[in-house]
């Protein structure tokens, strides 16, 4: 008996028998409920604080407790962080995505009296509601704001809208933002707001009855349309504005992605040959990345890159990053950006190319270029926070301290407690 062969086969049978598991879904489903209940339980306030409350209630002299309570209540009312409510009854949480979909309009009401209204397709996050200062990220769509003016002058509202910042103290205005083209229009009905950042060299005041549509020179060169006036919602903004920036200009290090149709097409007749050799695909699909990469190399890696799907290219790139020369990863990601220029994976590819340039090659300027490309293409993408942080880090390592400071400021504005916050503060302190 061949020992190795016997072991290999018996192991395969064990795996197969383990995978044939009729109880799996029930067990996972019931496990989910138990897990989330445990998470919920852990979020409860500690028992000791409740015990302390009871102690106060029963043992301290009533009059003394009452006076303390009145004082504390006054202090709390003065300094407390505000709250907000989504729709009629749902309490909002910091960081939640709030969306208006299916033709609905969603009001968001703040405890100090201000109100935002999201129109269909609108998407925002409330980043902070501190005493006197509220910070909101507008990710997409039309948002009407009605901000209560406070005589004390303590109220400060800030909206991050793409690359722009809208600062306000008591007004009614509308922001219409199209994330796909990064086009913004601010129209003020009452009071005034200040718009800064983005393509504006100096902050611009927008008073009652005025509108501002700042245009980014680089965007204009790409033919990005303005947001239409009244119907400036995402529904009206779905018209394709053409290939994104990364597809219309050279990327870093001579890996200029050419314009291409969005449909993936084999790039040469030889592609058929690669299509016939599909072993690498099975291995990649099974998560055996190292073996999949080797099989792809045997099948002619260049041809594989011409026939693979976007997800397969990402997996091959991962395999290249971890197990192979990084040039394999770069080749797979380059092919992905050429062949699938409008897919979200193209942005992920840009981000990963930035990581490779930074971590494997120490090419920090090039890495910064890639992270910028990612942020340009997917300003609200899932890797946005990490891309901002890595961009700042890459600029610092490339010796471009002015740019690093600018990135650090942007990062802290959006992610004051994010994983790169300490580094951002360190950069700003120098």
């Amino acid at each position: 008996m061949d020992r190795k062969k016997g072991l290999t086969d018996i192991a395969a049978r064990v795996r197969h028998a383990l995978a044939e598991d009729p109880d799996a879904s029930d067990e996972i489903r019931s496990g989910r409920a138990a897990f989330l209940a445990e998470v919920e339980r852990r979020n409860l306030p500690p028992r000791s604080s409740r015990a302390a409350t009871q102690l106060n209630r029963y043992w301290l002299p009533l009059g003394f407790a009452a006076s303390i309570a009145i004082g504390a209540a006054g202090l709390w009312l003065w300094t407390r962080a505000g709250t907000f409510q989504i729709g009629e009854s749902r309490e909002g949480s910091i960081g939640d995505v709030i969306e208006a979909a299916d033709g609905r309009v969603v009001p968001v009401s703040f405890s100090e009296g201000s109100k935002l209204v999201l129109h269909d397709g609108g998407r925002i996050r409330v980043l902070s509601v501190e005493a006197g200062a509220t910070h909101v990220l507008v990710e997409d769509g039309i948002v009407d704001a009605s901000i209560v003016h406070r005589q004390t002058g303590r109220t400060k509202w800030e909206f991050d809208v793409g690359a722009y910042r809208v600062t306000v103290n008591g007004t009614k205005f509308r922001m219409a933002y199209q994330s796909t083209t990064r086009a913004l229009r601010v129209s003020t009905e009452e009071g005034q707001v200040t718009v800064s950042g983005g393509s504006l060299e100096t902050p611009r005041m927008v008073s009652a009855g005025q509108s501002l549509t700042p245009s980014d020179p680089s965007d204009a060169a790409l033919g990005i349309p303005e947001v239409p006036e009244a119907a400036a919602g995402p529904a009206a903004a779905t018209a394709d504005s053409g290939p994104g920036p990364a597809n219309s200009g050279p990327g870093p290090a001579g890996s200029a992605p050419a314009l291409a149709n969005s449909a993936a097409q084999p790039e040469s007749p030889r592609a058929g040959q690669a299509a016939r050799d599909r072993q690498w695909q099975e291995l990649i699909a099974a998560g055996r990345l190292r073996e999949g990469l080797r099989a792809a190399e045997r099948a002619d890696f260049a041809l594989v890159c011409q026939t693979a799907t976007a997800k397969e290219l990402l997996a091959l790139a991962e395999a290249g990053r971890f197990f192979g020369p990084s040039k394999r990863a770069v080749a797979a990601l380059g092919a992905l950006r050429r062949r699938f220029p409008r897919s979200p994976d193209a942005g992920t590819a840009a981000f990963t190319l930035g990581r490779i340039a930074s971590e494997k090659d120490g090419a920090y300027s090039q890495a910064a270029d890639w992270f910028e490309i990612y942020l340009r293409e997917q300003p609200n993408g899932p890797l946005m926070g990490d891309a901002f942080g890595r961009l700042m880090e890459a600029r610092r390592r490339a010796g471009d301290l002015a740019a690093a400071r600018s990135s650090a400021q942007q990062y802290l504005r959006r992610f004051p407690a994010g994983p790169y916050a300490a580094e951002a503060r360190d950069i700003l302190s120098k």
């Binding site: 795996r15 897990f35 960081g95």
Partner: protein
């Protein structure tokens, strides 16, 4: 309609959301990785009715330690390693109980939910009975390499030992496994069938 945060994003974004205490992130973590983590636990322990509890333990540990994860894009591999640790701890716990509770074998034997309703399941149960007799370190090397499909390097990392040691443990485990299998008719048949099948294919 309002869509309060159901988490959407890749692993890097998920880790960031978990660290920020995002309310939808724990559920997203579980939904994304419960099946592979459970399979890892099963591949090490076999069919075992402690697996639901251990599955929960892995995810609770993950929430507690998410701040320590360095390469956020290796979330899946990190969870898998955590599942390996949890399973190994469980085997060690049972070994200790076995020693301490010689007069109460019912308490130490892994309880198995699945009844042997087919030849494959019967053989599976037999195989894990063989593995239960091995020293923990040998068993881990064998299971990680042959059942879980880890490379030698990955197995060494998961067992927190050197490559040379894992190779040595694996070689001993293989010898021991084959010896034990030959004493069990059901498994001998499986092994020989497997060998014939492999040879025919080659």
């Amino acid at each position: 309609m309002v869509t309060p945060l159901t988490f959407v994003g890749d692993d890097a974004a998920l880790v960031e959301a978990l660290r920020a205490g995002h309310p939808g992130a724990a559920a997203a973590l579980y939904d994304r990785y419960a099946a592979p983590v459970r399979l890892t636990l099963r591949s090490i322990l076999g069919p075992d009715d402690d697996i639901p509890d251990l599955l929960q333990e892995v995810f609770i540990r993950a929430l507690d330690r998410i701040g320590r994860l360095r390469d956020v894009e290796r979330l899946g591999a990190w969870l898998s390693t955590m599942a390996v640790f949890v399973a190994r701890a469980q085997i060690r716990l049972r070994s200790r109980r076995r020693v301490l509770s010689l007069f109460s074998p019912e308490r130490t034997r892994p309880r198995q939910l699945e009844q042997p309703s087919s030849d494959a399941r019967r053989a599976l149960r037999e195989i894990y009975a063989v593995l239960d007799q091995m020293p923990v370190d040998h068993r881990m090397a064998f299971v990680l390499r042959h059942v879980h499909g880890a490379t030698l390097v990955e197995a060494a990392e998961a067992c927190e030992t050197s490559l040379a040691t894992i190779k040595r443990r694996l070689a001993r485990a293989e010898v021991r496994f084959l010896e034990a299998v030959r004493e069990r008719p059901e498994l001998t048949y499986w092994l020989e069938e497997g060998t014939r099948w492999t040879e025919k294919k080659a």
